[in-house]
């Protein structure tokens, strides 16, 4: 047993260190040649995925690898614990890092971007922070890596370095840092003060420790303090972050960073408040569903009015993130599973959409919706993938988006929550309303007569986006292991 534990601890340590070593390796390799640098990135990404996915069997057998690094102050520790939700997040981020690296190589070279070494270095650092968020065993550790994630992605957002980019990057940093320090940190301090601990514990740590309006207030501090979850009105940083190169938008602002946000919210609902406790305090904590529902509808409406493809995708992400928050807030087993798998389904779909947007930019330098008329014939692979991703956002079978929506709906029915049911239906209509015209335009409209001819994006880009499109489809058919893993989350929750 102790030997087992030792190897598991090592796995956490290795998962945190691999991206760091990769970052150093990238710096060193870039002095030799760009190709070697790319090899190091891919090697690092694959190693990380191998290490993280290697922990899966233990998780399935019900073990919870953990590692206590240091006790800073009495009760405050730097500690890690792998549990189903964090495992899923880590597996997702590390797996998609490989595909995203393939894509990045094609994209960054295709667009002749500056300072590519810095780009790959900070990308690796962001992944290290993501692993820390995923495996954090308590609120303090979560907060530490949450902030590191903000800081390490900042150079990526401001990559281009011109004035408009820097202005957006300031919004990004300003909102994320000020909400986390102004709201999340007080919430954490409050939690430690009343509960005496911040450890993520099955059934939560707050039951019986606070009551009444305080529950709702503390929940609000957490939800809005975790700006990365982009619940309105703290969503503005996400559209601002779209100034980053597309691979950043794809992996970080569709997967790692934003999922870190909703992951943290879900984790806090499940492991800090405890679902049962929060359900019993429904009168004051019930506002969260309304906030999430409002965000879903409002963000979808804003998305309808966008003319820029990446901004449209950003608002779509804002809406989809609140699906996860809303599902978690429904506080029923099936909805919690739905929240977890929606992270996966949305990740596959949205990364595909961003990849496609980046492919279009690389091949044709087009960023606006009206420029996409007839582009399907010039870029059939890209637009096929785009179509699959969009259908997944709407939730049409056979795509991954259908599965998670099914679970969230089922959870909403379990709770007889008409608001959640109505919101899901309404937003499905809205999703269709902004994605279907693009698909229709791309495939069936005629190109404008003065169009410049162009072909497909660079091969690596196309390969990457086809892979994620296949994952989107595949998740519809092969979602068993994920659901099995997340059922553990619910099992722990109900006993």
């Amino acid at each position: 047993m102790s030997l087992d534990n030792a190897t598991l601890n090592n796995a956490i340590l290795v998962a945190l260190c691999v991206p760091l070593i990769t970052a150093v390796g990238i710096q060193l390799a870039s002095r030799v040649s760009d190709n070697l640098r790319e090899v190091v990135t891919l090697l690092g990404a694959s190693t990380l995925a191998w290490v993280v996915w290697g922990m899966l069997p233990e998780l399935f057998s019900g073990e919870r690898p953990s590692w206590m690094v240091a006790e800073l102050l009495p009760g405050i520790t730097l500690a890690f614990e792998v549990e189903p939700l964090g495992m899923l997040f880590a597996a997702l981020a590390s797996g998609l890092w490989i595909i995203n690296s393939i894509y990045s190589i094609g994209y960054m070279r295709g667009n002749k971007e500056q300072k590519q070494t810095r780009f790959y270095t900070f990308f690796a650092l962001s992944l290290a922070a993501t692993m820390g968020v995923a495996f954090a065993g308590n609120l303090f550790t979560l907060f530490l890596f949450y902030e590191l994630l903000t800081l390490s992605t900042f150079p990526l957002v401001s990559h281009k370095g011109d004035e408009a980019t820097v202005r957006s990057a300031r919004v990004y940093l300003g909102i994320l840092l000020s909400t986390s320090i102004g709201l999340l940190l007080p919430a954490i301090i409050w939690t430690y003060h009343v509960a005496g601990t911040g450890d993520f514990t099955v059934d939560g740590i707050l039951a019986g420790k606070i009551a009444g309006a305080d529950v709702g207030l503390l929940l609000a501090l957490f939800v809005f303090g975790i700006g990365k979850a982009a619940v309105m009105p703290v969503h503005r940083w996400l559209p601002a972050a779209m100034v980053a190169p597309t691979p950043v938008s794809a992996l970080l602002h569709a997967v790692a960073v934003v999922k870190a946000g909703v992951f943290a919210v879900t984790k806090i609902i499940v492991y800090v408040f405890g679902v049962d406790f929060l359900f019993s305090a429904n009168s004051t904590a019930g506002w969260l569903i309304y906030a999430a529902a409002f965000t879903i509808i409002a963000a979808s409406l804003v998305a309808l009015r966008q003319t820029n493809l990446k901004r449209l995708l950003a608002y779509s992400t804002v809406a989809q993130l609140s699906y996860v928050v809303m599902a978690a807030a429904v506080l029923k087993p099936l909805a919690e599973i739905g929240a977890a798998i929606h992270m996966v389904a949305h990740a596959f779909g949205k990364i595909t959409l961003f990849f496609a947007a980046g492919a279009i930019y690389t091949a044709a330098k087009k960023t606006e919706l009206h420029q996409l008329r007839g582009i399907g014939r010039r870029m059939p692979w890209t637009m096929t993938a785009f179509t699959i991703g969009a259908l997944s956002m709407i939730g049409v079978p056979p795509t991954g988006g259908f599965v998670s929506k099914w679970y969230i709906l089922a959870g909403a029915f379990q709770a007889d929550n008409l608001l959640a049911i109505f919101t899901i239906i309404a937003s499905t209509v809205l999703n269709a309303a902004y994605f279907l015209p693009i698909i229709f335009m791309a495939w069936f409209a005629d190109e404008p007569s003065d169009a410049k001819p162009h072909g497909e994006a660079p091969p690596l880009v196309v390969v990457a986006l086809c892979m994620t499109a296949l994952l989107t489809l595949g998740f519809f058919f092969f979602n068993g292991p994920v659901i099995e893993l997340e059922q553990q989350l619910v099992k722990g929750m109900l006993q």
Partner: protein
């Protein structure tokens, strides 16, 4: 021969006797080498004593074997060991890094004088920390102050002269107030030894002179410590001093005054005067709070980087005073820990500024735009130390802020106001640190950019201090042990 019992005496004597000898070292570089060696040796002595104190041994030393009321007594406990560590650490770091900057700012023939004054200041400050006698504290205070006036005025900038005149005037008033207070206590008790004072005040029949003395001493020391609103001498003195002097003074000069303030009030008055704790807190807590808010607000709009950080020091002094004004173990621990952590953060920042100043003569913020491009390591150190100043988890600054907030929570009715102010001021600190980072990294350069990094010698020390900010953020047990032993010691003397 075992030197251990003599360490408190050596702590003062070594720098004091080396000071005139340094004058003889005329050949270039020798004076620096001698001063740096003495500072390192002093640091070793302080570390040695701190380790012994952490193990539970306290030092009590009688010069020449003369007993306390007649001879000179020195004592080192947890509180003074911590302060000695800060003083000698700051001196060692500043002197090790000093050479390139001093070569640039001070003519070769005056350098031995400069280093000699530096060691005299060091001797004075350490003397204050080891003295067990109120009058010796005054003598050492004068030694250190006079040496500091010389150091500040020693720079190439003639604007230092009015700044130093202001400092001299205020400093002399402060010292005189202190002396008047000590004189009155002496008049009533017939002793200058702190321990004897504590014992004898109880027998004094007419308490009024003691009350007046407490007022004089508290205000005089508050003036020396730059407690808001008695801080007006500080920003200019820091801004105009030679850069390496700023490093030293910012890290420890005001802290030593705070040390005497706290020690005097807790050791001598707390145990004897009725309601002294209440008077002490109701007088200092509002000043601390106003200082925190006003100085942070001023720092947010300050245009000169050294003045900005100096204003930030005024705010940080507010935190230290605030913790002490709770008159609880938790509050005093937070104060003592913040003495240490703020010295690390601010010392690191001013060291990095020294690095910038090596290439940039004008240190107004807008002139430094874009400096990070050619001085990436220096800029990175500013980021790390800046985050420590804000109190982001993972850095040393977080530890003391956490302790302070926890101490405030126990403070009853005022708790929420206090916490709100501490958090608000953290956000303000974030704002002014972010302004620096934003300028260094993202603004287009307005003057010719630095040709490269700061000299290696300087850069190395900057790096060590920056890393220390992280190390003590994750493994704070040693400074915390000293801080909490200091707090218990101080409270032992309460009524």
């Amino acid at each position: 021969m075992d030197l251990t019992p003599h360490l408190p005496a050596l702590q003062v004597i070594v720098p004091m006797l080396s000071s005139p000898l340094i004058l003889l070292l005329k050949p270039r570089g020798l004076a620096w080498a001698g001063a740096a060696a003495v500072a390192l040796f002093s640091f070793a002595i302080a570390l040695n004593m701190a380790l012994a104190v952490a193990r539970g041994n306290e030092f009590y030393y009688e010069m020449g074997g003369w007993q306390a009321p007649y001879g000179i007594a020195l004592s080192v406990d947890g509180f003074s060991a911590l302060v000695l560590l800060i003083i000698t650490g700051a001196a060692a770091a500043a002197l090790l890094a000093a050479r390139p900057s001093v070569d640039q700012q001070i003519e070769a023939e005056r350098q031995p004088l400069f280093y000699s004054a530096f060691l005299l200041a060091l001797a004075g400050l350490t003397g204050i920390a080891v003295s067990a006698d109120a009058f010796n504290i005054f003598v050492f205070m004068e030694i250190s102050s006079l040496a500091s006036y010389v150091l500040i005025a020693g720079g190439p900038d003639r604007r230092a002269l009015p700044a130093v005149f202001k400092y001299l005037t205020m400093g002399t008033i402060g010292a005189t107030f202190y002396l008047i207070g000590v004189g009155m206590v002496y008049m009533m008790t017939g002793t200058l030894n702190l321990a004897d004072m504590e014992a004898r005040i109880g027998d004094v029949t007419d308490i009024n002179p003691i009350l007046v003395a407490a007022g004089f001493i508290t205000i005089g020391l508050a003036l020396k410590a730059a407690v808001f609103p008695l801080h007006v001498w500080l920003p200019n003195a820091y801004a105009q001093a030679p850069h390496i002097v700023t490093v030293f003074l910012a890290a420890c000069a005001t802290k030593v005054a705070i040390y005497v303030l706290i020690r005097f009030d807790y050791f001598v008055f707390q145990a004897n005067l009725e309601n002294h704790a209440l008077q002490f807190s109701t007088f200092l807590a509002p000043l601390a709070l106003f200082g925190i808010l006003v100085a942070s607000a001023v720092a947010m709009f300050e245009g000169h980087i050294k003045r900005l950080l100096a204003m930030s020091s005024v705010a940080q002094i507010g935190y230290i005073i605030l913790g002490a004004s709770f008159v609880t173990t938790a509050g005093l621990t937070a104060s003592a820990a913040h003495l240490f952590n703020h010295a690390l953060a601010k010392g690191g920042l001013f060291l990095a500024i020294t690095g910038l100043a090596y290439h940039y003569r004008d240190l107004r913020l807008d002139q430094l735009a874009g400096a990070a491009r050619t001085m990436p390591w220096t800029a990175a150190a500013i980021v790390v130390c800046g985050l420590s100043l804000v109190g982001i988890p993972g850095t040393a600054g977080f530890i003391s802020k956490w302790l302070l907030i926890n101490a405030a929570i126990d403070n009853g009715d005022m708790a929420w106001l206090l916490i709100a102010i501490v958090l608000l001021s953290s956000l303000m600190a974030l704002a002014y640190v972010y302004r620096i980072i934003d300028t260094l990294y993202f603004k287009p350069a307005v003057v010719a950019q630095a040709p490269g990094e700061a000299p290696m010698q300087l850069l190395l020390v900057i790096g060590i201090v920056a890393v220390a900010n992280i190390v003590f953020g994750l493994f704070p047990s040693f400074p915390l042990a000293l801080s909490s032993s200091a707090a218990e010691l101080l409270l032992r003397h309460t009524l």
